[in-house]
Symmetry: C2
Subunit: 245 residues, 2 copies
Amino acid sequence: MSELNVPVASFSPLYEQIKAMILASLQASEWLPGAAIPSEMELAARYAVSQGTVRKAIDELAAQNLLVRRQGKGTFVATHQEDDWQYRFLRLAPDSGAKFHLTNQFLVCANTKASPYIANLLKLKAGDAVIHIDRVQSFAGKPIVFEEIWLPGARFKGLDLEALNVWHGPVYAFYESQFATHMVRAEEKIKAVAADEVLAGHLHLPVGAPLLSVERVAFTYGNKPVEIRHARYDTSEQHYENKLN
Amino acid sequence: MSELNVPVASFSPLYEQIKAMILASLQASEWLPGAAIPSEMELAARYAVSQGTVRKAIDELAAQNLLVRRQGKGTFVATHQEDDWQYRFLRLAPDSGAKFHLTNQFLVCANTKASPYIANLLKLKAGDAVIHIDRVQSFAGKPIVFEEIWLPGARFKGLDLEALNVWHGPVYAFYESQFATHMVRAEEKIKAVAADEVLAGHLHLPVGAPLLSVERVAFTYGNKPVEIRHARYDTSEQHYENKLN
DNA sequence: CAGTGGTCTAGACCACACT
DNA sequence: GTGTGGTCTAGACCACTGC
């Protein structure tokens, strides 16, 4: 007797389905960054499962930094506007161990068309509208970071140099409050490069000086890429920190 | 009426205590890398708690990559000798996306005394015995990585160039099988530097070429630092990859 | 005080690997 | 089939927050 089992879609536990539903609500902005989501009991009722199952789903989303649990208060949607999250993605630190405070100077904010390279990374078509930003960041008066940023024009319509200069704080908090776009994760590719004349000028270094080149793609909910950055760090007095587990 | 609460030692859940006991067993080599630990039921009996509590302890240790769960088989002590863990800490990847296979050439393996800098990182005293290794790694025949390694002499007594050259495979698997030392995590500090004459010679590059400098401290159980590495990568055709969450 | 998340238990049943 | 980890439930109680 043949055991012709239908190749069923692989088993998916309940809590994974709950995770997916919570994710869908986040993506649909049903609950906004910084706001509390319903209590575990309420969600258990809503999805008709036990509290323990909701708990496991929330646990995993919290481990991915999408939610933040606060005992006695509730569970909240992660936000870049909290003090301790302001520099969640910044891996640069001074060699001295001193406290790091970077000052921002935005140089350019232009509406242009996506190059094939940028379009590919942002999952747009070459020629689609993109916004291109240049900035320099300084520490203790010394320029340390030169950064180029590309954003999809549709999502960030209306962004201009004025708005950037008025804002004080991390760019990701700005995106969140002005463009309803929360960054969930990012990927970086790092190389060592020599400063060309432009970079040397911005960072007050000789041409040929070694710089850390950091290319980042940042993603919102649903693995959607919505920001490209290409930074160059002067690492003579600071370094990029990474933990391997 | 005064509320003079004694400042009690802060609350510590049962599963944290179980975690600590399992960790102690790992550190004491009661269970060796690659071996199965007792089943959840057995551990629950041993510690006189419910299976659920053991489960939560193991879950967290597995999340830290100290243990590996395999459904239907058991829970195992993590090891660098498994195929998919061979390059767990390697973040370098070819720009082309090609498969990466590095060949090793060990140049030096000398018994020396710790400089103050190395002693500090390894938590030794300056002048204590350390082993110093130099190697070059190549990809497709091209030298890409020059790496210096420092190890505490006591733990790695007897390590020599012969042993390194006989070994085929990742260094961390070598440490594990020959010196009963399993690496649990590492921290890296990354900079861009210019090649000096020595580096330029090893990597077949002009003096002054930009290189990625990666300083790593690797830790065994109990947060004990047991290896220092200082690598220089030629990143002209490869890059360092990092994920931010 | 009530409401939230956090811990712990006991038990049932499922999925998977090996023999 | 037996034993392992994986899922799900229901319920009790603890710890923390804020009214």
